[in-house]
């Protein structure tokens, strides 16, 4: 390791912990078979890469014309400093090390996060002030051949109301391991859309950990149209009463695409609500998995937790694995999950065709209907883009 390139390279305690993780990985001292972070990825996929990183802050920017809509470009994990009465944006600095220490204490059994901890080379900190109502567009950009190991903190203060959009403009042959920590303070209301569309040579491991305080609401939608490998692991903890978390996503795979998905909501307090739903369409030789988990802790009475997993397989060679878990430790709950995997419905296809619609178009209609409800609440400009991606995907179908 060229220690200078890593953040907190002078931090003795952190380095000690990093070394421990490192030796665990070197010795392969972990349960390979049951490790969910290794589903559809081999350990060598994770561990064999050419480490290359150079900070760059030339192109990064924060733009806001109206003090309401912010556009932030992050280049190679680096952001330009910015501050006004609603928002503060900066890179992480040495004094943030305590935040990391906390993370290092948790043994998540997640090898991707282990690598993030070891090779950490960038991170940003965004603080949204109390009562701010803004929309925030984060655009991740990187130079080719880069390996980004990034740890971000997004802090949403009391009663802030934010539309957060994350996009990825990746150049070629990059690895992006981004771990994002989101705090939703009391009364915060966050709508989080993630749009993933990048070429085959890129890999994105995106992890979010959200903590929701009292009366806060976090609603995430992930749209994965990427050709490269994507891992979407998104977790939420409901730590305050009457908080809500919604983790939804859809993915559209073709060719040799692989994507690995996991969501988990832990209900730690009473009267909270959660929703986890992923839908995927798989074609050609693509592969996907979706783990979902609702955990209801002992004192989280009056919990409502719902899960849904739907896979549509368009080809004989694709593979979908789903594991929707419920772990419930108290009684006053309403929890459920539903999971279906199947082909495009033959009866619907017949019906549409019998009305004169040709097979190809009928298939598109059915596939579109499969994700229709996920698209209807989108802002117009995002909806338009997603529609373009979707028609591209459907165009290649037959």
């Amino acid at each position: 390791m060229h220690s200078k390139e890593y953040i907190f390279s002078d931090h003795a305690i952190l380095n000690n912990k990093r070394e421990k993780i490192f030796s665990k990985l070197i010795a392969k001292n972990f349960d390979k078979k049951n490790n969910e972070s290794l589903k559809n990825i081999s350990f060598s996929d994770l561990s064999l890469f050419d480490y290359y990183y150079k900070p760059s802050n030339k192109k990064s920017f924060v733009i806001s014309n109206d003090n309401e809509n912010y556009k932030i470009k992050i280049v190679n994990g680096i952001v330009k400093k910015y501050k006004d009465d609603k928002i503060e944006v900066r890179n992480i600095i040495n004094s943030d090390s305590n935040r990391f220490l906390e993370q290092y204490e948790n043994n998540l059994d997640d090898l991707v996060i282990d690598f993030n901890k070891i090779f950490l080379n960038s991170g940003i900190f965004i603080d949204i002030k109390a009562n701010s109502k803004i929309s925030l567009n984060l655009i991740y950009e990187n130079d080719h051949n880069h390996t980004i190991f990034q740890n971000n903190f997004l802090n949403f203060q009391k009663n802030s109301k934010v539309k957060l959009i994350e996009e990825f403009n990746l150049s070629h042959n990059t690895i992006n391991n981004i771990n994002c920590n989101i705090s939703a303070h009391e009364g915060a209301d966050i709508k989080h859309d993630i749009i993933q569309d990048f070429s085959y040579s890129n890999k994105l491991y995106l992890t979010t950990n959200t903590v929701c305080e009292k009366n806060s609401s976090f609603s995430q939608n992930t749209y994965n149209f990427a050709n490269g490998f994507v891992r979407n692991f998104h977790f939420a903890k409901l730590n305050g009463e009457f908080s809500k978390a919604c983790l939804k996503g859809c993915f559209f795979l073709k060719g040799e695409n692989i994507c690995s998905n996991k969501t988990q909501v832990i209900h730690n307090r009473e009267n909270c609500e959660s929703n986890q739903a992923y839908k995927g369409i798989l074609n050609d030789n693509s592969k996907a998995n979706y783990y979902s988990n609702t955990v209801v802790s002992e004192n989280a009475q009056k919990t409502e937790g719902y899960q849904l997993s739907k896979g549509m397989l368009l080809n004989d060679n694709c593979n979908f694995f789903s594991k929707p878990e419920l772990r419930i430790f108290t009684d006053d709950v309403k929890c459920s999950h539903g999971s279906t995997i199947g082909p495009l419905d033959e009866r619907s296809l017949f019906y549409l065709r019998s009305r004169g619609i040709n097979k190809n178009q009928a298939m598109k209609m059915i596939i579109y209907s499969f994700v229709e409800e996920d698209l209807k609440n989108l802002d117009n400009n995002i909806a338009e883009r997603i529609n373009i991606y979707l028609s591209d995907y459907l165009m290649d179908l037959v």
Binding site: N34, E298, Q301, G311, L313, L314, N315, D316, C318, N319, F320, F321, S322, K323, P324, E325, L326, R327, I328, F329, T330, D331, D332, V333, K334, C335, S336, H337, G338, S339, T340, I341, G342, P343
Partner: protein, 483 residues
């Protein structure tokens, strides 16, 4: 939860296990612990041929190298395999008694107390029973009537002697001894159990049933059951079990293998009521059971039904390998846990053949401080065109100290297959309770009624003779006696 519900629950928790008595009988046991000599001792007691002994020893060697499986959501101290007796038989059982006059009356009395009369004039109508006491089969009823139809129903020890060709061919063919450590252990030390062979095109006219009783202290029970349904045949089989109330934990590690050939159907039902331990979690049976059925032929069908109310720990996944085209696998389960019981149970449906179908209905009820987990796997392999699975798992929580967990694994590799899974978890509905009580039912009756309703889909799959029995057991389980 309202106070009335809590009171009812408390009352339930105070009731006791009804089958907890001990039969005072001398038994014949080897030294404690497991080594090659133990296995030789068992094999010699059973007067087994050489091939059987070497098969056992081979499995023992496999077992030595295998760690216990660790996927289950269970918490228990490590089992000390050297602190267990591996064989126990009432004295004088070197040879199976020819008829009941040779059987110790205490044994017959034991089965009477359990509600399983063995004497000819009292036998249960329509049910043939093989009674297994610790490590040996005591008696088998209706044997001759079945022989007339060519049906073989005997203990596995007898089958080794009389039908070695069938045993050799099928034993370990569905559950390879090296599958996991409990299957290897059972293969090495299995003592007794049932053997069934139904010849081609014979529909077995009565229920076949085995009743397992663990009596001796610190004794493991390792039964082995093998059921073969030849082409076009049908059999319905039921297994029941109880054990005395003891402070120490006892190990039960059974293997059950089912083979259904073309157009054959096997229905296998279990009413498991092992001693669950007391209200503080002391004692009880550790129940590690491997049950697997192979639908080997076209249009064959295997259906598992289980009512699990007993045991301190239940680890059990009756499974179906759907190899024949158009074959059907079914799993119906009620698992009730109370006090400090832990259950991790479910099924595995492996779709290999075309148009194979499977259905899973699981109902879990958790009370007290118990933890109840459904764990199931549905795999659709590449060539299983138009395979279909439907799974429904419902959990009911009664009280806020228990846990209910649903952990399904769903894997589809075929795009013409349809896999559907639904699950729900909720607490007992106070509105329903209120409604029932407004109609004059006591709180207890109301809980029992609602839980029975919750389980109905599964209970109705049981053979008629036992459905009523099972319903009662569910109510009793709620009364805290077992579970």
């Amino acid at each position: 939860m309202n106070t009335e519900t809590s009171k009812t629950l408390e009352k339930y928790a105070q009731e006791k296990y009804k089958y907890g008595f001990v039969t005072d009988i001398d038994s014949d046991r080897p030294q404690k612990g497991l080594n090659e000599d133990t296995i030789k001792f068992i094999s010699k007691k059973k007067n087994e041929p050489e091939w059987m002994l070497s098969w056992r020893l081979n499995c023992y060697k496999k077992w030595l190298k295998m760690p216990n499986p660790n996927w289950a959501n269970l918490n228990f101290p490590e089992i000390d395999y050297q602190d267990i007796y591996y064989y126990s038989a009432p004295k004088g059982f070197e040879k199976k008694p020819k008829d009941l006059s040779e059987v110790d009356p205490k044994l017959i009395e034991t089965y009477n107390k359990l509600g399983i009369p063995l004497e000819e004039q009292k036998v249960l109508a329509g049910v043939a029973v093989d009674a297994v006491f610790d490590s040996v089969s005591v008696a088998t009823t209706y044997k001759e009537e079945l022989e007339k139809l060519g049906i073989v129903f005997c203990s596995i020890s007898e089958a080794v002697q009389i039908h070695p060709e069938l045993v050799k061919k099928y034993l370990g063919s569905v559950i390879p001894p090296g599958d996991h450590s409990f299957s290897a252990l059972n293969s090495a030390v299995f003592t007794d159990g049932s053997f069934v062979y139904i010849p081609e095109n014979v529909k077995c006219p009565i229920e076949l049933s085995t009743y397992f009783r663990i009596n001796a202290e610190e004794t493991g029970q390792f039964e082995r059951t093998l059921i073969i349904a030849d082409k076009g045949s049908y059999v319905s089989y039921l297994e029941g079990c109880t054990a005395p109330q003891r402070d120490t934990n006892q190990l039960h590690a059974a293997n059950v293998e089912l083979i259904a050939l073309e157009d054959a159907e096997i229905k296998y039902a279990t009413i498991q009521n092992w001693y669950p331990g007391d209200e503080n979690g002391k004692g009880g049976i550790y129940n590690f059971v491997t049950k697997r059925g192979l639908c080997n032929g076209k249009n064959s069908k295997i259906s598992w039904t289980q009512v699990e109310t007993g045991s301190a720990i239940t680890w059990k996944y009756p499974s179906c390998i759907l190899k024949g085209d158009n074959s059907i696998g079914e799993f119906y389960s009620v698992a009730i846990t109370n006090n400090f019981q832990q259950a991790d149970t479910g099924t595995k449906m492996t779709h290999i053949g075309k148009k194979t179908r499977s259905k899973i209905i699981s109902k879990g009820i958790s009370l007290g401080n118990s933890q109840n987990t459904y764990r199931g796997k549905v795999s659709i392999l590449r060539k299983a065109n138009k395979a279909r699975n439907y799974t429904q798992c419902d959990s009911l929580l009664v009280g806020n100290k228990c846990g209910a967990h649903t952990i399904p694994y769903i894997d589809s590799k075929n795009n013409s297959a349809v896999v559907e899974h639904e699950a729900s978890t909720s607490k007992i509905n106070e509105e329903q309770l209120y409604y029932c009580r407004q109609r004059g039912l006591s709180h207890e009756e109301a809980v029992s009624l609602i839980v029975n309703g919750f389980c109905k889909q599964v209970l109705q799959e049981l053979p008629m003779e036992f459905a009523v029995e099972a319903q009662k057991l569910v109510s009793i389980s709620l009364e805290g006696s077992v579970g």
